[in-house]
């Protein structure tokens, strides 16, 4: 009898078809206080990581941009300003709670006309081939069940010459920083999560999922294997976060 296929959910092994459901539960739980928690957890530095991503995107007026796992719309807000009225931004997220928060927030900030919202799975993007000038996925790839499938799906919907930017937690480059970071992630982070959202488990999953995510070189190799060229990464905050870039040939 065949063993059922499993994948990781943090440090836990779960059936492949169950992972999306478990991840969805985490984000349904934290959606309402996602931004507050991001600010608390990173002391506001996540804004700088995202700002650097925007600069590296080279998005210009008239471009079409897909912001996958766009969550509460931080990147989409900036992209909507950059692409102008002739461009288009699609904020996509698999999680309806996160998408609702993002959509409400952007509408409240007066962003309309050049932005659309889509509940979409990164592995099976519901867009035609060669559609986007730029795709970003910020702090989302590690939650995807089959990352290779997702990367190939992103490649398909990118225009030739278009770029993919993956902003994701990665491996700290100094052993001392890694120790401090581990202590913070596994001790302090769940405690903050418990205090703010009354949900320590979701933030324990966050810390575990970061450790299970491929490191800088591995992800770069995965992007190359998916068909991207000129792949490179840029470490930020000592490698706690890395921005990977790849171009569709």
């Amino acid at each position: 009898m065949n063993e059922p296929k499993t994948t990781h959910f943090g440090y836990e092994q779960v059936a492949v078809e169950k992972k999306a459901e478990r991840v969805a539960d985490v984000f349904h739980s934290v959606a309402a206080k996602y931004d507050l928690m991001n600010d608390l957890m990173s002391a506001g530095v996540h804004r700088l990581w995202k700002r650097f991503t925007i600069e590296a995107s080279a998005v210009r007026a008239g471009h079409k941009v897909l912001d996958i796992a766009g969550g509460t719309g931080d990147l989409s807000y900036q992209f909507a300003k950059l692409v102008g009225k002739d461009g288009q931004v699609i904020l996509a997220d698999i999680n309806s709670s996160m998408l609702n928060v993002g959509r409400d927030r952007l509408i409240d900030r007066g962003v309309a006309g050049n932005i659309q919202f889509a509940q979409a799975d990164a592995q099976y993007l519901p867009f035609p081939d060669n559609t986007f000038d730029c795709i970003t996925i910020a702090f989302g790839l590690r939650n995807v069940t089959d990352k290779d499938l997702a990367l190939r799906s992103m490649l398909r919907v990118l225009k030739p010459g278009g770029r993919l930017l993956v902003l994701e937690f990665s491996k700290p480059q100094h052993s001392l920083l890694e120790k401090v970071y581990d202590t913070y992630s596994f001790k302090l982070l769940p405690m903050i999560g418990k205090l703010v959202t009354n949900d320590a488990d979701s933030y324990r999953y966050l810390a575990e999922s970061i450790r299970m995510h491929p490191d800088q070189e591995t992800l770069k190799g995965m992007m190359r294997d998916a068909g991207f060229v000129n792949t490179e990464f840029h470490n930020m905050t000592g490698g706690i976060v890395a921005l990977h870039k790849g171009i569709k040939p």
């Binding site: 700088l48 700002r51 650097f52 600069e55 080279a58 210009r60 007026a61 905050t237």
Partner: protein, 205 residues
């Protein structure tokens, strides 16, 4: 330097500048008209490149830009600051090099010189009309006083070094010395030309 430090510094500077520009709508509108031009500032010491992108909402300060810039200015921080403060249009001996359109640079310089932030409005919104007015008067008075002191300090230092200490020559002496050097140089050039002429005549068969 870590890109994150530059990103953080630029993000803070951009926020402060744009907040201040909210209280000078004329400058903000004038900057908006310069879009989509891009100014690249390349500092040579320390080596940093930043990009100034005027928009309708103020300005964007970027540490990374992959498009074409309209103008690039290169130089050290003191040289660039000196250019910003002065009216000079000639960059000779300024230590600053310009690549691209100098018109865009002149437009920016003109806009910055006419910067007139309404401190009173800014302070009134935070502290109320009475304290805001008094605070703005205080800032205006102190800025006027500081401008006077800087101007006086510069004049007095110059006079002390040239007249009292006689450590440096005066401007007139330097000009006279330069004129004499020019005359000597021209004289030497004339002699060289005369010698060449004589040599050619002598060597001709």
């Amino acid at each position: 330097m870590d890109a994150m430090f530059i990103t953080a510094a630029l993000a803070s500077a951009e926020k402060v500048i744009n907040a201040a520009l909210n209280y000078d709508p004329a400058t903000r509108i004038a900057l908006g008209k310069l879009a989509p031009q891009v100014l690249s500032i390349k500092l040579t010491a320390p080596e940093i490149c930043i990009y100034v992108v005027p928009t309708e909402d103020g300005i964007c300060l970027l540490g990374h830009y992959e498009g074409d810039f309209t103008t690039q200015v290169q130089g050290t921080v003191p040289a660039l600051m000196s250019l910003l403060k002065n009216d000079r249009v000639n960059l000779k001996d300024s230590g600053v090099q310009v690549i691209g359109s100098s018109i865009f640079l002149a437009d920016l310089q003109h806009i910055l010189k006419n910067l007139d932030i309404d401190w009173e409005e800014m302070l009134s919104q935070i502290f109320g009309d009475i304290i805001g007015h008094q605070g703005a008067e205080f800032i205006r008075h102190k800025m006027h006083w500081a401008k006077d002191r800087v101007s006086n300090l510069s004049r007095l230092t110059s006079e002390f070094l040239t007249e009292e200490l006689q450590a440096l020559p005066s401007k007139a002496e330097v000009t006279y010395f330069n004129q004499q050097v020019d005359e000597v140089r021209l004289g030497v050039d004339r002699i060289e030309a005369r010698i060449n002429q004589m040599l050619q005549k002598h060597l001709q068969p």
